[in-house]
């Protein structure tokens, strides 16, 4: 079942449950594996959670929910679609999904980068945080469902809209509801009613373009597309209008 060459390991995980799979990952990481390829992944949850050393994990198949939750410095590439909770509360590291991802992608991320080639589900990037240099990024190639960037307190969320047809708007409503930190860059059309009440719209400044270009370049490297063409599209910047969106809710 398991073949190993020095620091590169390939494991066929067909039929294993998540506990067995993660046990194997822990053992391999303890043996100083640097690259692990998992074959026939089918719905196993929490892949990449609780690993103590940096490692690169290639997933062939469909990982289950909470891929890379609480992850701390590992790199995961998925050749397939990811499910809900990808990068849940991740601290450091990188997740690259060559396909779609489900709901709450990047929930409460504290650091690291997530690249999704296609679309994501509801509440992507909810509750992302940042503190000084720790600044998570979520880059979505396609479009997102409602409540993208809800409650964002930090980080960068980029929505590229690459699979939208000419004249087609992003589908999400309530974008950035409750946002009170961080920034979103949106490529593609979006109507004003689709935005949360706490979000402001602005043109990108030079330093915005600098940040954006860096992530778009990375996106293009991962998914082999033309960064220039992506950058030639029209972007808008969404930012939190208030530091305290609900500050006037209460009688003291």
């Amino acid at each position: 079942m398991i073949q190993a060459t020095q620091n590169e390991v390939t494991v066929d995980v067909a039929g294993l449950n998540f506990r067995e799979l993660n046990l194997i990952l822990r053992e391999k990481v303890a043996c100083r594996a640097e690259k692990i390829t998992l074959l026939n992944v089918c719905g196993q949850r929490y892949i990449g959670t609780g690993l103590e050393r940096p490692v690169s994990i290639d997933i062939v198949g469909t990982p289950g929910n909470n891929l890379g939750s609480f992850m701390d410095g590992q790199c995961i590439s998925v050749y397939g679609n990811a499910q809900d909770g990808t990068g849940n509360t991740m601290n450091e590291g990188q997740i690259v999904v060559h396909g779609h991802a489900g709901d709450i992608t990047g929930l409460a991320a504290r650091g690291g980068k997530i690249f999704i080639r296609d679309d994501v589900g509801y509440r992507a990037g909810i509750h992302m945080k940042e503190y000084q240099a720790k600044k998570p990024a979520l880059v979505i190639g396609g479009t997102a469902q409602d409540f993208a960037g809800e409650y964002m307190a930090g980080g960068v969320l980029i929505l590229l809209g690459l699979n939208l047809k000419d004249g087609e708007c992003h589908r999400a409503n309530y974008i950035g509801t409750g946002m009170h930190g961080g920034v979103m860059y949106l490529r593609g059309e979006v109507d004003e009613f689709q935005l949360g009440k706490e979000v402001g719209v602005a043109e990108l400044a030079d330093d915005d373009y600098q940040v954006l270009r860096e992530y778009v370049n990375e996106y293009s490297d991962h998914f082999d597309c033309d960064a220039k063409e992506i950058m030639s599209g029209r972007f808008i910047k969404l930012y939190p209008r208030y530091l305290r969106p609900y500050g006037r809710l209460y009688a003291y």
Binding site: F18, F70, N91, L107, A153
Partner: protein, 500 residues
């Protein structure tokens, strides 16, 4: 806008005793006392007084008396002073009424309707001064059966267990809601007394990782300060679903309390409100709860019990059963009188059920389903003394959490102004000038003293019953009798009427 609200307190100053030292002026964080240099007199803006008695306690000449304003509205059973003034406040602000601490309404306190048993003639009581008494409690999932090998050694692999020396732990109070010095006091007292304190949902300050063995780390819907190192630091990881003071709603830590250091542990901008959504957006069902429970077990490699805390609500028993089946090793029930640093008053005063009834029904349900051993049950919300603790244990709790009681040990006078961030006792604030008022060495000593007192009292209670271990009292409702309760109340509590 001109306020129609009267002062709630009257500040009386004995002119003969007052030496105009201005201690009251400096101690009051609500700007009640001020010095009038023209008249060389100390005066009071009584409208600002919230009745915390900080000035009274610190006046060196006992010159101050603060008492309730006896303003008597025309007598009306329905329109009480509180009802009138709440509307006045909302008419002036248009906001949700905020409050701090636990429910102060006159709901029945069932502890006061339960009495404990003692040994007389037919079995001997035990003198705990001379005989060994055991309060040690192990929290965590217990196996259905144990298997021993030929040498009497345990073969069964036990789930992680956490040993505490007194069945009283400090309830979750987040860094941000309370100050770092309060956390230090709680952590040190927990370490000294062999019990646990709880970080609450605001993360753990770097200075406190050293107390990890006595720490419960919490993860709530805002996921503030949650990362691998934090989860590793704690002894138990607790998922907070709900809180007794505000079942079903999230939390907003007001921006005034989000200081530079709170911003660091929570990873949100300084001065912004820390927003915890009402639900965890990765938990919409029992199956989803199981997912987070196992995500945390994977993240901690199955070395720590995972606790799940809910507010006691109508269907608590069925929910608790689901929680146990979702993999929770400890379930925490927080009752109607559970406290808070800030909650909408209408929620605090009206939502949830009394903890005594929730505990009894959850314990009964888990026993009926044969899964009571699979999780420890911890309760919170209104525990005032060791008598309440003993009754809770007899009703079926493995341990209790105390929040308000612990803060009172630190100096809290239950003035219910936690949400303002101006706590004059330096507890529920992040204002650096105020937080200095809690000295962690003294705070830890006061907390440890209280726990020591309670532990001696618990041993006295056990001795009087003729049992020498808390385990013999746990879930033993025959040691309780009810007074002044209806048949349905007695039935839910699983307790017989006194005299029967």
């Amino acid at each position: 806008m001109k306020t129609y609200l009267p002062s709630r307190f009257i500040v009386e100053r004995d002119k003969d005793r007052c030496i105009r030292c201005q201690v009251c002026v400096n101690q009051c964080s609500f700007d009640t006392h001020y010095y009038d240099c023209d008249d060389d007199a100390i005066c009071a803006s009584e409208n600002n007084c919230i009745g915390c008695h900080r000035c009274v306690s610190f006046c060196p000449t006992d010159a101050l008396t603060v008492r309730q304003n006896p303003l008597e509205y025309k007598s009306n059973y329905n329109w009480t002073a509180e009802a009138i003034e709440n509307i006045g406040k909302q008419a002036e602000t248009g906001g949700v009424l905020l409050t701090g601490m636990g429910n102060d309404k006159g709901y029945p306190i069932y502890w006061d309707h339960l009495v404990l048993n003692a040994s007389q003639v037919t079995n001997p009581s035990i003198d705990p001064l001379r005989e060994p008494m055991e309060l040690t409690t192990y929290l965590g999932r217990k196996p259905n059966e144990v298997e021993l090998d030929g040498d009497g050694k345990l073969v069964t692999k036990l789930a992680p267990q956490v040993r505490i020396e007194i069945p009283v732990m400090f309830s979750a109070m987040s860094y941000g809601a309370v100050s770092l010095n309060v956390h230090k006091s709680l952590a040190r007292a927990a370490e000294q007394m062999g019990t646990l304190w709880n970080t609450g949902e605001g993360g753990l300050h770097p200075d406190l990782y050293q107390y990890g063995d006595n720490t419960i780390v919490q993860t709530a819907s805002g996921r503030f300060g949650v990362h691998a190192g934090y989860l590793d630091a704690g002894r138990i990881v607790e998922i907070k679903i709900g809180q007794g003071a505000k079942p079903g709603i999230g939390g907003h830590l007001p921006g005034e309390k989000v200081s530079a250091e709170v911003s660091m542990t929570r990873m949100i901008p300084q001065g912004t409100d820390a927003l915890s959504p009402a639900p965890h957006h990765d938990i919409y069902s029992i199956e989803d709860l199981a997912q987070l429970v196992y995500a945390l077990k994977e993240a901690t490699n199955y070395t720590k019990p995972i606790s799940v805390k809910i507010a006691a609500v109508h269907n608590a028993a069925a929910i608790a059963s689901g929680m146990v089946r979702a993999g929770a090793d400890i379930i925490v029930l927080d009752g109607l009188r559970g406290s808070t640093g800030a909650a909408p008053k209408v929620i605090r005063d009206n939502v949830g059920i009394p903890i005594e009834l929730a505990l009894a029904s959850v314990d009964t349900r888990l026993r009926q389903e044969g899964i009571r051993n699979q999780a420890s049950v911890v309760i919170a919300g209104g525990i005032r003394n060791s008598g309440d603790v003993a009754k809770a244990i007899a009703l079926g709790a493995d341990a209790v959490y105390i929040g308000t009681a612990a803060l009172i040990a630190l100096g809290c006078h239950v003035c219910q102004q936690c949400h303002t961030g101006k706590c004059a006792w330096g507890i529920c604030t992040t204002d650096l000038a105020l937080t200095k008022r809690i000295n962690p060495d003294i705070g830890a000593r006061r907390l440890a003293n209280m726990l020591r007192g309670w532990s001696i009292e618990l041993k006295d209670i056990l001795g009087a019953m003729g049992v020498n271990a808390l385990e013999s009292l746990r879930g033993n409702r025959l040691h309780l009798r009810g007074v002044g309760l209806t048949d349905s109340e007695l039935e839910i509590l699983g307790v017989r009427m006194a005299g029967s």
